[in-house]
């Protein structure tokens, strides 16, 4: 196992590269998990504004409006003193000042905008308040036209039950994306970067003409040398893949073990690891010198990751980019990853889609290997 051991020895000398990429991976993953703590998207809560009200109308309707706003905001009745109003606003004592003019009820029924809302320049809370008041007034006017008195209309509006949002949980996962899905999303990047840099360098070293000749005239057959090299590829690939799974388990072990799709996640990551091996092989074949490997792998891993949806979710990509991304194997990996994160239990047609995407990744793998072998053949003929 001389050739196999040599692969391992050179790979061990690149342990710093492996650690560096794993640190990047863990850092990004932890950052992502902290950005999306509940994985359910962004939550919004209502805000109570400090509102000052100048009621010049003193009517039934204006009093009801103030009463209504008091349910949602901190409302203070204020004197009709322009200087004081300006001062309170200047010192941010009040977020918004509302002035209800005289004969407000008449103007309102005539369809005129009557309430004057004032706020500091550059602030936009008034829009929220304005829509609240508009909504209230529309509903009151509708009740009023229907024959209810102002007081009755207000009562009807106040008694309307709050609308309730029900999530249609068609996928059975409560609309939640599991945290570990983010870890799996980043795996193609570290897989291509680590395996490409480590194995690409080794392939390039073994391809040096003089080394190759020296090995060709040795007592170990070429078949055996190739078999040992292949074994080393698989072992190093599996080592990196298991390392990734270990990190994922440490960070999200409980969630992973409880997910019914975990086997598909693991299978998908294994396939992308095999695809990364083929890229490493191709990079090693293309690079004439060892340092060229890094020059090839760094842009390739970043390009595939950006286009394939590693750094930017596929849902954010526009349709043109998505069309182009179909020519990148990572895209098909991320498609599976996204699908798995959306479903708690996979329907049959989705399972078929998952397998077809895995097949596409394997076709890409075969294509990279075929190109690498063609390059190797061309180089032999060139000599």
């Amino acid at each position: 196992m001389t050739v196999f051991n040599c692969y391992m020895k050179i790979a061990k000398k690149n342990i710093n590269t492996i650690i560096m990429y794993f640190v990047i991976f863990i850092t990004i993953s932890l950052a992502m998990v902290s950005v999306y703590p509940d994985s359910g998207g962004i939550k919004f809560t209502g805000t109570k504004l400090d509102i000052g009200v100048v009621d010049r109308d003193k009517s039934e309707i204006s009093e009801n409006i103030i009463k209504y706003l008091t349910k949602f905001h901190n409302v203070e009745a204020m004197d009709d003193d322009i200087k004081e109003l300006q001062e309170r606003m200047y010192y941010y004592d009040k977020d918004v000042i509302i002035q209800i003019p005289e004969k407000f009820a008449e103007k309102c029924t005539a369809g005129e905008t009557a309430i004057d809302i004032t706020q500091q320049p550059g602030e936009y809370d008034y829009m929220y308040l304005e829509s609240q008041i508009n909504d209230l007034m529309n509903r009151i006017i509708k009740y009023n036209i229907a024959g209810y008195s102002i007081n009755e209309s207000f009562k009807k509006v106040s008694d309307t039950p709050k609308s309730k949002v029900t999530l249609l949980d068609t996928n059975g996962n409560n609309g939640q994306i599991p945290n570990f899905a983010y870890l799996f999303r980043y795996f193609p990047y570290i897989s291509i970067a680590i395996l490409g840099n480590v194995l690409g360098i080794i392939v390039c070293s073994f391809r040096k003409r003089e080394v190759k000749n020296r090995m060709s005239v040795s007592a170990v057959s070429m078949k055996r040398q190739s078999a040992e090299a292949f074994l080393a590829f698989i072992v190093i690939g599996i080592f990196i893949w298991l390392g990734f799974l270990a990190v994922a388990l440490i960070l999200n072990g409980r969630e992973m073990s409880g997910n019914v799709n975990i086997a598909y996640y693991i299978l998908n990551s294994f396939v992308v690891m095999v695809m990364s091996l083929s890229i490493a092989f191709l990079a090693g074949m293309l690079a004439k010198k060892v340092h060229i490997v890094n020059i090839i792998i760094t842009p390739v891993s970043l390009f595939m990751s950006f286009l394939g949806g590693v750094f930017v979710p596929l849902s954010v990509l526009n349709s043109t980019v998505r069309k182009a991304a179909r020519f990148v194997p990572v895209f098909w990996y991320e498609e599976i990853n996204d699908t798995l994160s959306k479903y708690a239990k996979l329907p049959d047609e989705v399972i078929r889609e998952v397998w077809s995407n895995i097949g596409i990744q394997l076709l890409f793998t075969l294509m990279f290997i075929a190109v690498a072998l063609a390059v190797s053949r061309y180089q032999r003929q060139e000599r």
């Binding site: 001389t2 051991n5 020895k9 000398k13 060709s216 070429m222």
Partner: protein, 309 residues
């Protein structure tokens, strides 16, 4: 040990080896001498089954060599012209790796590796990577990787190219020592001094053909030149030049830039006769020296061109 018969190798329309014939016996240091591009490396590559040849046969240890002749390859060590080591591995790891391609037993391998390191004098550099070694030390590492498994036949392709004199001497001494240890060595070079110094038998190759072969003395006896006398800072006229040409055994005289080069056939007292002539004709001169013919003279007389053209 090696028999090459009528070997022909073509690269398209270029004939790299043109019916090459060689015979190398066990225990020899066999020199393949020829200018750059003469076909030395191609011949070596064919012998090692690295290149397919168009015609002829190559037998090593009595068997036809093929790409899968692993039993023959096991007994051969190769030191290629360019450095063939892994830049990522240390000196020790490189030698250990190439030894591992021949030797499976760990204890035996360890001993052979340390013997090879000692042999090339790299004991103080075992942990260094090739990139941290000088050109001479790199050449020594290259040799160690080729000889570590103590092969019966060692093929060295220009192992002293771009090497400092100290390392060159060390390498040449090492080759003689390997030969004393029982290895047969094929040594290719375009440095005739090296070939003359260490080789017991030499084949001169030009244009893919073996134009002469034999021991140094046999090769030198094939040519007319027996002695070359050079006189520096000499001032002579055409009459005196003709006089020198007419001295017995002198067959060629060249006078240029006040340097006189006289070629004589092999005979006694050539130098004395020329010195007497110059004294009699009151010719003033500087340094005088006489040289025995070199392999370069052999090459020059046979091909009409210098070995390093």
């Amino acid at each position: 040990m090696i028999k090459v018969e009528n070997l022909v190798k073509r690269y398209g329309s270029i004939v790299a080896l043109d019916h090459l014939n060689l015979e190398i016996d066990e225990g020899e240091i066999f020199g393949l001498l020829g200018p750059n591009g003469s076909g030395k490396t191609t011949a070596i590559s064919c012998m090692l089954a690295l290149l397919k040849y168009d015609k002829g046969s190559i037998k090593i240890f009595g068997e036809q060599i093929k790409p899968d002749s692993y039993n023959i390859k096991r007994r051969i060590g190769i030191v290629p012209q360019n450095i063939a080591v892994f830049d990522e591995l240390s000196v020790y790891e490189n030698i250990d790796y190439f030894c591992g391609l021949y030797i499976k037993n760990k204890t035996e391998k360890k001993k052979l590796v340390s013997d090879a390191i000692e042999f090339v004098g790299l004991e103080n550099y075992t942990k260094r990577k090739p990139g941290q070694l000088s050109g001479g030390l790199l050449r020594r590492l290259n040799i160690a990787c080729g000889i570590v498994h103590k092969p019966e036949l060692i093929i060295m392709d220009e192992p002293t190219v771009a090497v400092d004199p100290q390392s060159r001497n060390k390498i040449l001494e090492g080759i003689e020592e390997l030969n004393r240890g029982g290895s047969t060595i094929i040594y290719t070079s375009h440095y005739m001094e090296e070939v003359e110094q260490i080789c017991t038998k030499v084949a001169i190759i030009d244009g893919g053909r073996c134009i002469a072969s034999g021991t140094n003395e046999e090769l030198k006896s094939m040519i007319k030149t027996g002695e070359t006398i050079t006189v520096e800072n000499i001032f002579i006229n055409s009459e005196q030049l003709t006089g020198i040409k007419n001295i017995q055994h002198v067959f060629d005289v060249v006078y240029k830039d006040n340097i006189l080069v006289i070629r004589c056939s092999s005979a006694k007292h050539n130098l004395v006769k020329i010195m007497n002539y110059m004294q009699e004709h009151d010719i003033s001169f500087g340094r005088v020296f006489s040289e025995r013919p070199t392999l370069n003279d052999v090459f020059l007389e046979i091909t009409g061109k210098q070995l390093r053209d």
